[in-house]
């Protein structure tokens, strides 16, 4: 007998679900990805610590591309639209996503920003995530690739301390390299750490200040754009670059 209202016996049943808890975010990310692929836009989820130089890197990217690439961006920020304003001044049409207390962007926020967009046709769309080496890594936004900015001042052991973030990365940009002569930083130690957390470790040393390495970064973007076109022409072979993670 039910001990609350006497409505009769209750039966215990087990419902097997075996679904990712973030399946709702994954579905929205897949929707975003379909938008990007249909428009032929390379979407980059740019992540990194606060102050790792994400915005400065995008400003340098705009300078170095010299208008040859049509760039757009959304910038996630807890409290201000400063990064988006900087990018707009640098010639990258941008929109701020002010997250309030949320420490990461999710696919729904990016989707809302996409539908409220000041840009036209684009070659590369940067999703500048909230500065944070933890939370952004687990939310698929629909990007074609994840890029992590790591400043030389952050410490050589950052990759092995934050393996979830770096395992997600398709590319690491080692930023502020103009400071290397003034620091006791062993770049080889950073590379060794990356090799232990990234299955295909790829790192480019850059300086937004001097422009060092920005050409290599633009070449990487060009290669990813070319791969995007190949995939768009062969949809049967297409697979999300960062789809839902392994479900055990």
């Amino acid at each position: 007998m039910c001990d609350t209202c006497g409505c009769g016996d209750r039966e215990l049943v087990a419902v097997e679900v075996h679904e990712r808890i973030l399946a709702g975010n994954d579905a929205m990310a897949a929707h975003n990805r379909a938008h990007f692929v249909a428009e032929g836009v390379l979407a980059i989820n740019l992540m990194g610590s606060p102050g790792s130089g994400k915005t400065a890197l995008l400003e340098a990217t705009a300078r170095a591309s010299g208008g040859r690439l049509r760039l757009g961006a959304v910038s996630g920020d807890l409290a201000t639209d400063r990064d988006a304003a900087r990018l707009n001044r640098a010639g990258i049409p941008s929109r701020a996503i002010t997250t309030g207390s949320a420490c990461h962007l999710d696919a729904k926020m990016v989707h809302a920003a996409l539908h409220d967009a000041p840009w036209g046709a684009l070659d590369v769309f940067f999703i500048e995530n909230v500065g944070n080496l933890v939370c952004p890594a687990i939310y698929d936004l629909g990007q074609a690739a994840c890029v992590v900015a790591l400043a030389v001042t952050e410490g050589e052991d950052k990759p092995i301390k934050y393996p979830v973030m770096f395992k997600t990365a398709d590319l690491v940009l080692l930023t502020k390299c103009d400071l290397l002569p003034h620091l006791e930083v062993d770049v080889a130690a950073i590379e060794d750490g990356l090799a232990r957390v990234m299955p295909v470790p790829r790192m480019i040393q850059v300086s937004a200040r001097t422009g060092e390495g920005v050409d290599a970064w633009l070449a990487w973007l060009a290669a990813r754009r070319a791969a995007l076109k190949v995939r768009a022409q062969a949809p049967a072979l297409d697979a999300p670059a960062r789809g839902p993670a392994h479900v055990g």
């Binding site: 209750r10 215990l12 808890i21 973030l22 939310y139 090799a195 392994h246 055990g248």
Partner: protein
């Protein structure tokens, strides 16, 4: 602290199963991988904070922690924890075979026997 967002998604998914059955939720079983980016203790705290006002108010949270496992996709050799993620034999990039789960596995419900 994305654990609250995960708990909100979890409770919403559980409600989808429980509400149409007019069921009481007794226990949730989730799997959290070592490389999932989710702190199990923070998840428990978030769940305990969030659940009183939900269908999961009386439901225990059972967390299965899953260790990270990397292996070679070519020769299936398992890599030692912390080792470089290239197969020492054939040189291929390793693949994560377990450890990134954020999964709702099972819900135990008490349903009216009608």
């Amino acid at each position: 602290m994305h654990e609250y967002g995960i708990v909100a998604a979890l409770v919403e998914r559980v409600a989808e199963e429980a509400a149409p059955r007019r069921a009481r939720v007794r226990r949730l079983h989730v799997a959290i991988g070592e490389l999932a980016g989710v702190d199990v203790e923070l998840l428990r705290t978030a769940y305990d904070t969030f659940r009183p006002a939900t269908l999961c108010a009386d439901a225990e949270l059972d967390v299965r922690a899953v260790a990270a496992a990397w292996s070679c996709p070519g020769c299936a050799r398992a890599l030692a924890p912390g080792a470089p993620l290239q197969c020492p034999v054939c040189g291929r990039p390793a693949r994560l075979t377990a450890g990134d789960e954020i999964v709702l596995e099972r819900i135990e419900l008490e349903v009216p026997d009608v």
